[in-house]
Symmetry: C2
Subunit: 373 residues, 2 copies
């Protein structure tokens, strides 16, 4: 073992909100403590690459990228990075996009020995064949893929689950509020009292605050939660430590039993504005559900469940007693995740906190990068 | 990067409750998924070492160790392990004792390139000079020390804190219930109502259930919490990423401002039995504190605080509103830890769950071992 570990070469793809925060965080590590060489940046229109002259901490990198005349070319980037791997360097591609196209390239990076770190859920919650290609490529080359920020942003969710599985604990059930948007909406809408603000008004305010997608149906369909559950479920069922499981083999996130909150009559409405203007028609329906829950001493929460013992993965609206942590402890747009396992017995391991936002998402990505050092 | 990572050679010292669970968990990893060679076991009276023939998964290892005629000798063990390091192997010593003597040897292991993993709090909460020797030895040789299970057992506490610090988040305050014993005692004693069971009866029942040390004063003195706070505080203040801090430089856990719960008149009582028999004399004092808290709508909790912003590290009894997670969410002998940071803003990152017990402690140790792969 040598005193000075070789530095990890880092190529970043995607410099939007998360990508910008990630690069800023990376370049803010004090030089004496930084084990990284940032050698490449790629936006949707430009790219820079210079393995011999890494971007130094404190560099004003945005003008540097904006001034480049090179167009993005993943084939060329892969060749550049592979040649560093051939020189026995540790090389990582960080994908801060939400692109399906970039996700589809992970196997080709991994099989060339380039590790992949990303908050992008697409590859891990999409087609099972892509996920299996990723596992295979990683196993063959020894390059690693890390995706902490795909669930709960910077919260220690994936790493905790991997450790439970790797050390031989039996995960019985994972249950949580995985969407910051859904968390905010139901923390506001359902507090245990029989009445309160209308569902449509809460969604409308959430949209104004920027907590929802421009089209709120993209949150209310539950797909974001279904994607996260797919990632958790596969992390268990496709781990080399898992010899048998009752979990279903999810072909994609679409295989998760997901109960959408979009009223049937509003399915397919093209614009967010029209959707919001018509949502009040359905307030009585949500009012009634809230009143029924309240009559039972309960609140409504949109949760995701990976029921390992019962072999079920589902997302939807559930009722919880007002004394339950999903009611008492939750606030703002927090995520909360409960791991029920054999070793933890009757009282679950709980992780809670902001599960969205550029700074904490970027932190989870950078945290993964430190795991490669 | 090679497809097959070299295995990590593991030497285990201490085969008590935690040590036994650790070895059992290690040997339960399916052989195809195990990146470890278990090559040595050491109890207080015996040792075995065989680098050429690692102990195979499923081996009945207790008789193997019991049948050895070799006496423990750390000098010889260190030489054996150092010779493996010299052959470019990854080598780790796992200390599952709570021994000061073993803790004092960490620098000599580390400087020879042997990584150290332990749930033993002694080295990290004892003399600052020992801790600094550990840091120095690790930095010089590149060998690592990992101590997840020293705080909150298998809960992701140390790893979460390290990641916050490494990625440049500013920790403002860590506040938590760090002792499973103290958690149980006050969850039972103080529920928000003005009355309830007497303090002495709760302590007595906790002792019968095995939740306290044989001498309950060893819990009520708050030293266990002070040790954990010392570890957290040093993890922040002595990180290479931390350039300046208001935190005090703790010479040892004794430097933590700790408010003991041992009534002055019962200080120094030699036996747990006598202590328990005299504790009822002081019930009125605890009754009064509970009634006062209740009158303010609060509960009593024995907490630890690392107040980074305020430059203070303290352990003691505090009052929390009955709506606070320390009141609503806590139960059994759970730990709960809140990280208030710049990036997480007004809503902290929270980790909760069992923070003691052999199985979850051993899991945290094994989890650390996986971080070396």
């Amino acid at each position: 073992m040598s005193a000075i570990s070789p530095k990890v070469y880092v190529a970043v793809v995607g410099v939007g909100l998360v990508g910008t925060d990630f690069v800023n965080q990376l370049l803010s590590i004090p030089p004496h403590a930084s084990p990284f060489h940032l050698i490449s940046l790629t936006s949707s229109t430009r790219t820079i690459f210079d393995a011999a002259n890494p971007i130094a901490p404190g560099t004003s990198w945005k003008p540097l990228l904006a001034g480049s005349s090179q167009r993005p070319d993943f084939k060329v980037l892969t060749e550049h990075l592979a040649s560093l791997v051939a020189q026995n360097q540790k090389v990582t591609l960080v994908d801060n996009t939400s692109s399906d196209d970039v996700a589809a390239l992970y196997p080709s990076f991994l099989e060339k020995g380039i590790s992949v770190i990303t908050p992008n859920k697409k590859a891990y919650s999409g087609d099972l064949s892509l996920y299996k290609s990723i596992l295979r490529a990683s196993e063959t080359s020894g390059a690693r893929f890390l995706n902490e920020s795909t669930v709960g942003a910077g919260l220690p969710v994936i790493s905790t689950l991997k450790e439970l599985v790797a050390t031989g604990d039996k995960v019985v059930r994972i249950e949580g509020v995985f969407s910051g948007t859904m968390s905010y909406i139901f923390n506001e809408f359902s507090t245990g009292r029989p009445d309160g603000p209308s569902f449509s008004s809460v969604v409308s305010i959430a949209r104004e605050k920027g907590y929802t997608e421009p089209h709120p149906a993209d949150d209310l369909n539950g797909f974001d939660v279904a994607r996260k559950l797919t990632i958790l479920s596969r992390t268990i069922s496709l781990s080399p430590q898992t010899t048998s499981t009752s979990l279903p083999s999810l072909q994609s996130f679409a295989s998760v039993q997901t109960t959408s909150l979009i009223p049937a009559a509003l399915e397919g409405i093209p614009t967010g504005d029209e959707f919001i203007s018509r949502l009040p028609e359905f307030d009585p329906h949500f009012d009634q559900m809230r009143a029924e829950a309240s009559a039972e001493g309960k609140v409504l929460r949109f949760v995701g469940v990976v029921d390992v013992a019962g072999g079920q993965v589902k997302a939807g609206l559930e009722k919880y007693p007002t004394s339950h942590p999903f009611a008492t402890s939750l606030g703002g747009s927090d995520n909360i995740i409960m791991f029920h396992t054999e070793r933890y017995g009757s009282r679950p391991l709980i992780v809670q906190g902001a599960g969205a936002g550029a700074a904490v998402t970027a932190m989870g990505v950078l945290g993964d990068l430190f795991k490669l050092v």
